[in-house]
């Protein structure tokens, strides 16, 4: 069956499922019908530029705060301004940046957490191993372009060309019987996170409609254009281009028709680009049945976190938008009844130096990742928060922390929750076997319920 017809059939099944109670079984092929309660999706929010997440999660117990303040000097937040998180973690009380009120509320309600000092590693890594050069380290440590790829791909020692999200959907065959491209939907264009070996991805705009080619109401125009795109002798990249046009036309038809049926979300969203993207994700999640998908990844980039200067001022401007977007999204999921079926998490190039350059902070390694959703066993932190003292052996210079928890541990828990069978985990996380049973691979099991 050619790809075009396959896509058309995807549309057929999608429409049938919404318009009739009896689904023509032939259109669904051999796969099982998708029941609403089985739907699960992850939303990856990339804080591009390397967010200074040691100013998002801050110790507020006296000793720990005084160490934080000494290390961060002019970048330290005021102790009184921190939003308290309930409970203690490893004997220390914590607070959030004053802008993160939605995250605080969800944390204290048991629906959000942060994974502390997490970052890309290839294998269990100690300071001694680094100094003795006996351990394989991620490519391009401290470099934006490399660490942003290490986080998206979970293959920090090589550039295999596939990402965690893409391999995750690859490892769940049969879950998506409708429009294959809808398994990975990006609000921020092409990305490495969603590159699969098998499944493709679809990029959609947050604030524009699904675009269609102008002038297709004219038959000559349409026929000539479509014929133009299908040169049997096209070269490799010309075929990539022509196929992209064709999938844009085909999938665009499906998304236009399906999104027209999306429930109207009454939860108010802000109008900035991040909130608009999160709103569009909520709408798309609400039509997963019509799209014929039961396992999905969404990807959205919120950029501009490379705060080498004016860290305090820029965080005070940008974190409210991040917190609002996350909070509105979670409220919309509550409204749609999808709260426990969608889990949102943040990734970022790296954490940053604890020490200041006089105005801001520089590139680091481990950082703190947010995880939010009804499935999150929240109200507690995960991982090991590093002591913020100068002689901490995890400090590889100026308060850059060797991660206490590998990115793979966080992704393994997400994979398990999404339904990846244990024997398939290696295909999703090729380095996971290195970490299983090691301290940097432990501690996150059960972070997501179900």
């Amino acid at each position: 069956m050619d790809r075009r017809r396959f896509l058309r059939n995807g549309l057929g099944s999608a429409v049938s499922m919404t318009m009739a109670t009896t689904v023509p079984f032939s259109l669904l092929g051999s796969a099982r019908a998708v029941a609403s309660e089985e739907y699960r999706a992850v939303v990856c929010v990339l804080l591009a530029g390397g967010a200074d997440s040691f100013n998002i999660l801050v110790p507020r117990s006296e000793l720990a705060y005084s160490r934080y303040q000494a290390r961060r000097s002019d970048l330290a937040l005021s102790q009184n301004d921190l939003l308290p998180l309930d409970g203690e973690h490893e004997g220390v009380q914590f607070g959030l940046h004053p802008a993160m009120s939605s995250l605080q509320q969800r944390f204290n309600a048991g629906q959000a957490t942060m994974v502390t000092n997490v970052g890309p590693l290839v294998e269990p890594t100690t300071r001694a191993g680094i100094d003795a050069e006996t351990v394989t380290l991620p490519l391009g440590l401290f470099s934006h372009s490399d660490q942003i790829l290490s986080w998206q791909t979970a293959t920090p020692a090589n550039r295999a060309g596939t990402g965690f999200g893409g391999r995750l959907i690859d490892a769940l065959p049969g879950a998506n019987t409708g429009l294959a491209l809808a398994g990975n939907i990006s609000l921020s264009g092409n990305n490495s996170f969603q590159a699969g070996a098998v499944t493709g991805s679809y990029a959609i705009s947050a604030n524009r409609g699904v675009p269609s080619i102008a002038g297709f109401d004219n038959d000559l125009f349409k026929r000539s254009f479509e014929s133009l795109m299908s040169d049997p002798k096209a070269s490799v990249l010309q075929s990539v281009y022509g196929n992209k046009i064709q999938s844009a036309i085909d999938a665009g038809d499906v998304f236009s028709s399906v999104l027209a049926q999306a429930s109207v979300i009454s939860t108010p969203f802000a109008e900035d680009s991040f909130s608009s993207a999160m709103k569009r994700i909520a709408e798309l999640a609400s039509v997963h049945e019509q799209l014929g998908v039961s396992r999905q990844t969404f990807f959205v980039t919120f950029g501009g976190w490379d705060h080498h200067e004016d860290t305090l001022g820029q965080q005070a401007t940008m974190l409210p938008a991040l917190d609002a977007g996350l909070g509105q999204f979670q409220a919309a999921l509550d409204e749609l009844g999808l709260s426990s079926q969608v889990t949102t998490f943040t990734i970022s190039d790296f954490g940053r130096t604890l020490t200041s350059n006089g105005r801001g902070s520089d590139h680091g390694w481990g950082g703190n990742a947010m995880v939010m959703g009804g499935a999150v066993q929240g109200g507690q932190l995960y991982g090991h928060f590093p002591e913020q003292v100068e002689d901490n052996p995890l400090d590889v210079g100026r308060g850059r922390f060797l991660p206490s928890t590998a990115t793979d541990a966080m992704y393994a828990e997400i994979s398990r929750w999404m339904g990846v069978a244990p024997e398939s985990l290696e295909s999703v996380l090729p380095n996971w076997a290195n970490f299983e049973g090691s301290p940097q691979g432990a501690g996150l099991t059960g972070m997501l319920a179900g």
Binding site: N190, V236, I245, R398
Partner: protein, 568 residues
């Protein structure tokens, strides 16, 4: 006059061979480049009086104008076909520089901002300047080279750079000025430019303060190495990575090196404005004059640079910077690292190692013992035999410019060009000096799915959303009220299709021109037959609409969007 000559020649050819569709422009593929071998013939022609250039000479002309300008105009195709590629390059290298800042100041004066020392608070003037020069500047090769450099030495419109157009226009002029100069001078000028100082935060970057527990900012130190000079891993002259005994790439530097270089880039501040003495850390941004050094804020002591070089204690800050610039410039990685990216920006995303090696050789030594001679590097890149084997997705932004140049988009007589570029930016995500980060719009290593391992950076910004946006943008150029914007507040603008419409009775000549304007002289048989078929079917359309239909199909054809031959 020449046009009619060609038409006559073609008409007689057609009648002689029975008018076989398309056969007049199909020639055997050229084995050589666009260099002296194939372009030199017309020089000999001069001695015996003007002769009609050969089809191959037309193709060479179309190709060099495709890669060396913001878009071929048909009159240029004709004149370069006649003069030859080398003569065109010689002329381009010798033309005076068309700068951007004077255009910004011209607009500033129109709005009453006449003070040389004051900011001009209208950010869009630098956009006006870019589009004015892209459309009209005679020194197209220099404009295109500087444009390529904006994607290597990335600075982007943000903060004060968005509000005061002097910063980005002067920065573009710095790139223009050094485009045909020496890479070492270019690197130094970029390092000291306040737009870069603002963007990568080394303006007002102070030395270590033990009392405050603060350290020099590492931002510029890192990116100048990773992105502007040597890259992350040691390279062979052919651009491939060297591998260590463990089979892994060899890092060019580590974080200790970054910290040493971060000390070098301390002490720089903005020049003083309006007769004020400059002050470290406090003065207002002056974005059109190089930053100045305050040695009191410059990190003292020895600094340990790459390849065993130690910068001695007691030097001035500027001496330190010069030593560091030399240290980087003389690193063996610079030639393949920079050379390959210039090839990718100008010619092909997938140069062979041999191509990279040839350019590295010219970068290392221009033949007269000079390293970093940009003029020699650019000439070598554009005249390499491999230019005919391009595999490159055309930048959507440049497709937009090329369409407007080829179709003679101009404002009405006496009016400003005044294009802001928001129109093309919305559709393509691209605008000069507006990348999302110092990592540009796309990675030089991006490999699209289904691309069989080929690199195609521009595919990274080609999504279902933008690919339809760009397709519709081409329709807007042709069918919209204004070809370069949709803002009724901006000056009127029109395409001039007169010469193409005059060919309504001569399909073959029209197709030939389209091929030379939009396909670098070589259109696929498939696109030719689709356009030709649509043309035949559209017989009831007005001549203008019939031409527009053919142009629309040309401008959206996969072999226009992707400059690629099947040779790979």
């Amino acid at each position: 006059m020449k046009n009619s000559l060609i038409s006559l020649v073609l008409v007689s050819l057609l009648s002689a061979c029975g008018g076989g569709g398309g056969s007049t422009s199909v020639d055997p593929p050229s084995s050589g480049g666009v260099g002296s071998d194939s372009g030199g013939g017309s020089g000999g022609g001069g001695a015996t009086g003007p002769t009609e250039p050969t089809a191959e000479e037309y193709r060479d002309a179309a190709l060099i104008l495709d890669i060396g300008t913001f878009g071929a105009r048909y009159s240029d195709v004709e004149s370069v076909a006649e003069s030859g590629v080398d003569a065109w390059l010689d002329e381009q290298f010798s033309l005076p520089i068309s700068l951007h800042e004077p255009i910004v100041r011209r607009y500033g004066a129109q709005y009453g901002f006449n003070n040389q020392d004051s900011p001009i608070p209208v950010g869009r003037f630098r956009r006006f300047a870019f589009f004015e020069n892209a459309l009209t500047a005679p020194d197209q090769l220099r404009q295109v080279t500087a444009y390529a450099l904006t994607q290597l030495f990335v600075v982007s419109q943000t903060g004060v750079l968005g509000n005061n157009p002097l910063g980005l226009s002067n920065y573009y002029d710095t790139l223009l000025t050094h485009s045909f100069g020496n890479y070492r001078d270019l690197l130094r000028a970029v390092t000291l430019h306040p737009a870069m100082g603002f963007y990568l935060s080394h303006v007002n970057n102070a030395k270590t303060d033990p009392d405050a527990n603060t350290f020099p900012d590492e931002n510029y130190a890192r990116e100048v190495m990773q992105l502007f000079t040597i890259g992350l891993y040691e390279l062979n002259p052919d651009g491939t990575q060297k591998l260590g005994t463990d089979g892994r790439p060899i890092p060019t530097y580590d974080n200790a090196d970054i910290r040493e270089f971060s000390k070098i880039f301390t002490g720089l501040a903005y020049e003083g404005s309006a007769g004020q003495q400059p002050q470290f850390g406090r003065n207002r941004p002056v974005l059109h004059m190089p930053m100045v050094m305050f040695d009191d804020y410059h990190e003292p002591g020895e600094k340990y640079l790459l390849n065993g070089l130690t910068v001695l204690d007691g030097q001035t800050g500027i001496q330190d910077i010069d030593d560091a610039v030399d240290n980087l410039f003389n690193h063996p990685n610079v030639a393949p690292f920079v050379g390959k990216q210039l090839i990718q920006r100008l010619v092909t995303s997938n140069p062979s190692p041999d191509y990279v090696s040839r350019i590295s050789g010219v970068f290392a030594d221009n033949g007269d013992g000079v390293r970093g001679d940009m003029k020699a590097v650019i000439r070598a890149i554009l005249t390499d035999p491999e230019v005919t084997n391009a595999s490159r997705v055309r930048e959507p932004f440049r497709r937009f410019l090329a369409a407007n140049r080829a179709l003679n988009a101009m404002p009405s007589e006496g009016s400003d060009i005044g294009v802001t570029g928001f129109f093309v930016q919305n559709a393509t995500g691209q605008m000069v000096l507006s990348a999302p980060s110092v990592f540009n719009f796309y990675s030089p290593f991006y490999r699209p799915q289904g691309g069989q391992g080929l690199v195609a950076p521009e595919m990274q910004i080609t999504t279902e959303d933008t690919i339809v946006g760009v397709t519709n943008l081409m329709a807007q150029v042709l069918y919209g009220d204004r070809p370069m914007h949709n803002d009724s507040q901006l000056p009127e603008m029109r395409l001039d299709l007169t010469s193409l419409v005059s060919l309504v009775e001569d399909k073959e000549e029209l197709l030939l021109r389209i091929e030379r304007l939009f396909f670098a002289g070589t259109m696929s048989e498939h696109s030719r037959s689709v356009i030709s078929g649509a043309w035949d079917e559209a017989v009831s359309l007005s001549p203008t609409d019939r031409v527009k239909l053919a142009l629309y199909l040309a401008l959206t054809a996969p072999d226009h969007a992707v400059a690629e031959r099947n040779a790979l």
